[in-house]
Symmetry: C2
Subunit: 307 residues, 2 copies
């Protein structure tokens, strides 16, 4: 089954201890689309400027991603410049030019509206709510957000939280959103505000999914997927969006959404995140095979399974 | 099979968001002994002062711990006063009185010398080396250390590292010991200095065991055990020593030391750590049953196992 993703398409200039890249293709919707494309049919909604060429679009098309929802606006594409030091878990933002993304109004092509799954990448929660309400019949909605919206757009974010089935955020965001320093307590508080499940991403320590009681067949205890202990994290940019792509893509590829499907989705999310950080930008996500993905899935299983 | 543990016996004054306790029984060897006592026969080596009463010793004796190796010296028992804030992962030390522990010279009773397993809790690496060399025929030696020894006693610590089979430390200590901010790289560097396996404890994110190539039957890939997402961590004191007690105690209870045994030991370590923090001091560790332990082992399995 197909999935619609709405979010940023961008150019990133990146500096990590492993090197420098100028203006490579990035953005949450891009990472998500490429990652999810290994599991299901992906339809992307975003906005780009006149510096976005057919060659850039071809990166997604080659992976079978439907790009009819990418609007072309006058001006420049969203640009982000960031740097990672020794601690790859923390990005230092050097420059953010919203450009055409600053006035983004998501438009869903009519052909997208029959999709069963939807992912709202990190954009203004007002827009997330609009998009979600324009697809009332989807089977499952996933969503992301960030510090900026949590701090200063609480009410709008509250509306959005009532409309997502699974929220995917990181430790810091979960604690900030719930105003609680205990992750398990924060998880419970966030679930009380709407989502049926909450995925908290712990970076190199993996990710945990918390369930609201009685929401998915198979129990409500949390479930944790590990991350791969990688000696060389070349570029952590997009790891979270790649996780979300693997997670949602796998769910969309399955007939029904059970606890068991969500558990496997956690592992596939971790798998895709681990690939993403091995090379700069979306490079690794462009050239995978399903065999490589399933082989790594086996490694993840080994990492945490008792005989 | 029996295990000898050498380390501190102490009184702790504790303050956490859940309350205050004055001068409760603590110390690495105490937490370790109580935790390991659910798996195997434990023999403890330590030193106490004249404020340590038969009632204190009875806490260990009731759990079947052999306390003949506890020396009684003139003066007061090691005292630690600490406080935990909102972030339970960080203790703030308010007072440390080494007292009789400051001139501790471990003496192993003759009856201990036939033990097959040894755990060197966090004490001066010179003493750790002496004890280890006095038991040349043990099957497996586990060891702990801390920032203080890593910073200023590098050479002595190097001697100790050559003599332990499994080192158990936390993230910060591993990075400091290897002088490397990548945990997987740090693990490899630490393993090059002696240990056959390295357990890195990640607090609420669980723990990972890294193996030196070819050291244990069954492969050398790392293995990760989760931690339980606990809403109420009443007192994190001794969590690492309780982990070590479950880990080493389980190993000592098994006939041979294989990768599979070490993987299960990681889960039992996490289980015992999770019990320890539920109540203040060693309270929870004094009153467990093997049934409760195995039930929680099942919860840990559920937390990370795919069907």
């Amino acid at each position: 089954m197909s999935i619609v993703v709405v979010g940023s398409v961008a150019f990133d200039s990146l500096k990590t201890p492993y090197g420098v890249r100028e203006r490579v293709l990035g953005g949450a919707a891009t990472y998500f689309s490429l990652s999810a494309s290994y599991f299901t049919e992906v339809r992307v909604v975003g906005v780009v400027g006149d510096d976005f060429t057919p060659e850039h679009e071809a990166v997604m098309k080659k992976r079978g991603v439907d790009t009819r929802g990418i609007q072309h606006a006058d001006g420049k594409t969203f640009f982000w410049k960031g740097e990672y030091g020794e601690n790859v878990n923390e990005a230092k933002t050097l420059q953010t030019d919203l450009n055409v993304f600053g006035s983004f109004q998501p438009q869903l092509p009519a052909e997208y509206l029959n999709s069963d799954f939807l992912f709202l990448a990190n954009i203004d929660p007002v827009l997330q709510t609009q998009v979600r309400d324009s697809m009332p019949d989807v089977k499952l909605v996933g969503g992301d957000t960030m510090n900026y919206w949590i701090k200063d757009h609480r009410a709008n974010l509250g509306d959005m939280l009532k409309r997502v089935d699974v929220l995917l955020i990181n430790d810091t965001e979960a604690k900030m959103l719930a105003d609680d320093n205990s992750l398990p307590r924060a998880a419970r508080k966030v679930l009380e505000r709407g989502p049926k499940a909450l995925v908290i991403k712990h970076g190199e320590y993996g990710a945990t999914i918390f369930f609201r009681d009685g929401q998915f067949a198979g129990g409500h205890h949390p479930f944790r997927a590990p991350a791969l202990p990688l000696e060389e994290v070349r570029d952590p940019t997009g790891a979270g969006d790649s996780f979300a792509g693997g997670f949602m893509g796998y769910i969309a590829s399955q007939g029904e959404v059970t606890r068991n499907v969500l558990k496997h989705a956690m592992f596939y999310g971790s798998v895709m995140g681990s690939f993403s950080v091995e090379r700069f930008g979306t490079e690794r996500l462009q050239s995978l095979s399903r065999e490589e993905i399933d082989e790594r899935f086996g490694m993840f299983r080994e990492l945490t399974h008792l005989d």
